[in-house]
């Protein structure tokens, strides 16, 4: 097939997809399986690893926490034949559960190590005044789970672009090396204010790179 200019040599196809509604209850591990089966149902000619037990090579760029939605998530694989991206999108959507949709397909431009930040939109039944007050605290200390255990992190300097209107929009560090789960902010708010946010919905709206551009 004709060579696609890809930032990641092992793959040539990046699928941007949404994972919303009921699909937010699909864990990252399960999502992997769901995608592989959809690709098989769609009969896409994708590359399998070689060796003792060959398996479909699908890479997710940034895991999404259980319970959170995403409108532009990304995964990569290698197509072994030239295919029209429109057709790949259509065949994938035919095969995917309704709450997961392929929204765009392109050749990978960036590497997952380029990801530094993600933007989230949070809606919740919440005491807005109290939340604004909380957001202005000098420090927002949370317990972050790490591979070694837990460590204390101050969210305050890490939150960028916070706006509180009908919903809360904010950016947090993201990536495979250092990632902050936005749910931590709500936990810290609950602990500080005593207000229990209800009907919480967290949507990852953008995956971003160091220069502020969207991951492509």
């Amino acid at each position: 097939m004709s060579e696609v200019r890809s930032a990641v040599p092992s793959v040539n196809t990046r699928v941007f997809f949404s994972k919303t509604g009921r699909a937010k209850y699909i864990s990252h591990l399960d999502l992997n399986r769901v995608m592989q089966r959809a690709i098989r149902r769609a009969k896409l000619p994708v590359w399998y690893t070689e060796g003792y037990s060959p398996h479909m090579y699908v890479q997710f760029m940034l895991p999404l926490s259980l319970g959170q939605e995403g409108v532009r998530e990304a995964m990569d694989f290698r197509l072994l034949e030239d295919m029209d991206y429109g057709e790949v999108t259509a065949r994938l959507n035919e095969a995917l559960p309704l709450d997961i949709r392929a929204v765009e397909i392109a050749a990978p431009v960036m590497k997952n190590t380029d990801i530094t930040t993600a933007e989230y939109e949070i809606t919740a039944d919440i005491d807005r005044e109290k939340f604004l007050e909380f957001a202005q605290s000098e420090k927002i200390i949370v317990e972050k789970k790490t591979k070694k255990g837990t460590s204390e992190v101050d969210l305050k300097p890490l939150i960028t672009e916070l706006s509180v209107g009908e919903s809360i929009t904010l950016r947090l560090p993201a990536g495979n090396d250092f990632n902050i789960n936005p749910a931590l902010l709500l936990e810290a708010y609950r602990a500080a204010s005593g207000d229990e946010p209800r009907s919480v919905r967290i949507i990852r709206t953008k995956i971003l790179c160091a220069d502020g551009s969207e991951f492509a």
């Binding site: 509604g21 009921r22 209850y25 699909i26 864990s27 089966r37 959809a38 149902r41």
Partner: protein, 622 residues
């Protein structure tokens, strides 16, 4: 985007409030690929198909997939799936007033026309009550007076449904593929005619394979045994189980619901044959699923291909009671592996018999992952294997193990039973001796650094209805304990691990399997005391069951540990599973004489099927 999926946004919003606090929420939301969504306004009959166990267990069950597809293939019928929530979910549902709902529409199942349970094992009985209660329905059939929802049950346990008669409106006995649709058509008509529940039940009772327990009166002798069972007009005196005559043409689903989360058997499954030619005397399935019927190779290949393509599964397993009894097993495996190996699909064969475990078969499945290999000699000595008619010799087992060992297997699992009729200490010692002989056949796999190992699993024998052992007492707790102790004292090899089952669980299973109608009260009381999911170690509580039996004045030993005379009226004697009682008695006599019965392929044993159905039905055997 996907609004069309949310038939019930109100319920979804309620669930969204707390599902993230629940373990593995994906099993409570539906929306999986392959699940069937219909427009309610165009549906005339709704069926809530309930599996009285967790999502992971129920979703692995083939029968549910068959009947789900069958009903949903009719445009104006809608069948949905329902499972038992685990305690964290149940507690939240109760606290928030959320009734048990079906996974497709998220609608409460009490609004459905049918609530149907598949009853696969005795230890799910209290879970059935728990599900009805969580649905907001009275668990007692007589307290549900409207036509709908009608509570129905099917599956192997229905061959003796007596202990469940208080809770169900009717039972479906035998193969479900035809009779399920007949019942739904009857419901469609009865709803249009505004018929009463009684009218529906009287009409249903005239369909072959339908058992309406409220139309039968049971009387008892002074000693507690059944004296007489009388049918009330228009119910037949004997309910005969339904069978699919043309099994090759029987409905089989083109697609499965593919779960988001992992389940016990997460793969495509194709049924290759139904029934069994073997006649192992302890095995209920071996008798109640007769006659033996096969699908053609072409049908099996077509169904395999169709399912793999539609589900995206990369593993398919062949289902049956004994896949190696398929007449042309080598031809079948060749046909299938031609397709599976080309498409990167693993083929697995869970039910192979040791005596037909040939090199060819092993070669065909050599692409399949080599994990463990399981054999079920069931008894330790040839004498006892003859008693139970498990026509497998020690040499068969050792030959198969040798072939498997050369094929790269280094660990073997062996299944045995304790407490079989006529068992002696010598037979028990035979269990360990056989395990030791097996380990002698296994060679070390130096490359992978695995040394040979054998694990022996010893369960307690449970006599079941419609087997030649339905007359036998189950060994008492003391007997089983001393047998287990003897085995453990005799066994002395670090490479052989022995695991034993808990007696209490086997006792309850034995009681419920051969129970009469009066035991329904004990089930009710046990459920009231909090019993459910009895098949799960963490929830099983024999103390509550003992209290329940004591409170209704029944003895568990009366049902489990008593020898039943040949002329005793069995609580299930008005059910005809096509196996004659004379045959079961003659087989029981032969067992005590240590005389074996050849399998159906060698010689017809006159079990009753041909007398009941006609000889043509057994054509797959020849």
């Amino acid at each position: 985007m996907s609004e069309n999926l949310y038939k019930n946004t109100e319920m979804m919003d309620k669930l969204d409030e707390f599902l993230l606090d629940i373990q593995k929420p994906a099993r409570y939301i539906g929306g999986e690929v392959g699940s069937v969504i219909k427009d309610k306004s165009k549906v005339d009959v709704r069926f809530a198909f309930c599996f009285p166990d967790t999502y992971e267990i129920g979703m692995s069950h083939l029968g549910m997939k068959i009947l789900y597809g069958l009903k949903n293939a009719v445009p104006n019928y809608w069948c949905e799936r329902v499972f038992m929530p685990l305690p964290d979910m149940e507690e939240q549902m109760r606290r928030r007033g959320i009734p048990l709902y079906a996974l497709e529409s998220l609608d409460p199942i009490r609004e459905f026309d049918f609530i149907g349970f598949t009853i696969q094992y005795e230890l799910c009985y209290t879970t059935i009550l728990a599900m009805l209660d969580l649905a907001g329905l009275p668990v007692l059939a007589e307290e549900r007076t409207a036509l709908t929802p009608l509570v129905v049950g099917g599956g192997p346990c229905v061959c003796n449904a007596e202990p469940l008669c208080d809770f169900f409106d009717l039972f479906i006995v035998g193969d479900g593929e035809e009779v399920n649709l007949e019942l739904m058509r009857l419901m469609e008509r009865c709803k249009k005619e505004n018929a009463s529940k009684r009218e529906f039940l009287e009409r249903a009772a005239q369909i072959e394979g339908i058992y309406v327990p409220s139309l039968y009166k049971v009387e008892y002798n002074a000693d507690g045994t059944v004296s007489k069972i009388t049918a009330e007009e228009p119910a037949p005196q004997t309910v005969t189980k339904r069978i699919v005559r043309d099994f090759d043409k029987a409905y089989f689903p083109e697609n499965f619901v593919v779960p988001f989360c992992d389940i016990v058997h997460n793969r495509a499954v194709v049924e290759v044959l139904r029934g069994c030619i073997r006649g192992c005397r302890f095995c209920q399935a071996g008798y109640i699923y007769r006659p033996f019927r096969e699908k053609s190779k072409g049908t099996i290949l077509g169904q395999t291909r169709c399912l793999c393509e539609n589900t995206g599964y990369d593993e398919v397993s062949l289902s049956s009671l004994s896949t190696s009894d398929y007449k042309d097993i080598e031809g079948l495996l060749k046909t299938l592996t031609d397709y599976t190996s080309k498409n990167g699909i693993n083929l697995s064969l869970p039910s192979l018999r040791v005596d037909r475990f040939s090199e060819e078969v092993l070669r065909e499945i050599s692409d399949v992952r080599k994990s463990g290999l399981t054999f079920a000699p069931e008894a330790g000595s040839q004498r006892l294997r003859d008693v139970i008619n498990k026509n497998v010799t020690e040499q068969n087992v050792l030959d198969s193990v040798k072939i498997a060992s050369e094929g790269g297997y280094s660990s073997v699992k062996l299944y045995f039973m304790l407490g079989l009729p006529t068992e002696t200490e010598k037979d028990i010692e035979g269990i360990f001796d056989l395990a030791k002989a097996v380990i002698g056949q296994l060679t070390s796999d130096r490359k992978k650094g695995r040394s040979p190992s054998v694990s022996v699993s010893v369960s307690t024998f449970i006599p079941k209805p419609f087997t030649p052992f339905e007359f036998e007492p189950q060994a008492s707790e003391e007997e089983i304990r001393s047998k287990q102790k003897h085995l453990m004292e005799y066994a002395s090899d670090k490479r052989i691990t022995i695991s034993r089952s808990k007696y209490d669980v086997s006792l309850l299973e034995a009681v419920l399997a051969r129970a009469d109608r009066r035991v329904g009260r004990a089930i009710y009381l046990a459920w009231k005391k909090g019993c459910r999911l009895d098949g799960w170690d963490e929830f099983f509580d024999i103390r509550k069951w003992r209290e329940a039996f004591a409170e209704c004045g029944l003895e568990m030993s009366f049902y489990a540990n008593r020898r039943r005379e040949y002329d005793e009226v069995a609580p299930w004697s008005h059910i005809n599973m096509l196996i004659s009682r004379e045959f079961l008695i003659s087989e029981n006599r032969k067992a005590h004489e240590g005389v074996t019965t050849p399998n159906c392929r060698e010689k017809c044993s006159d079990c009753g099927v041909i007398k009941n159905v006609g000889g043509e039905i057994c054509r797959a055997i020849r």
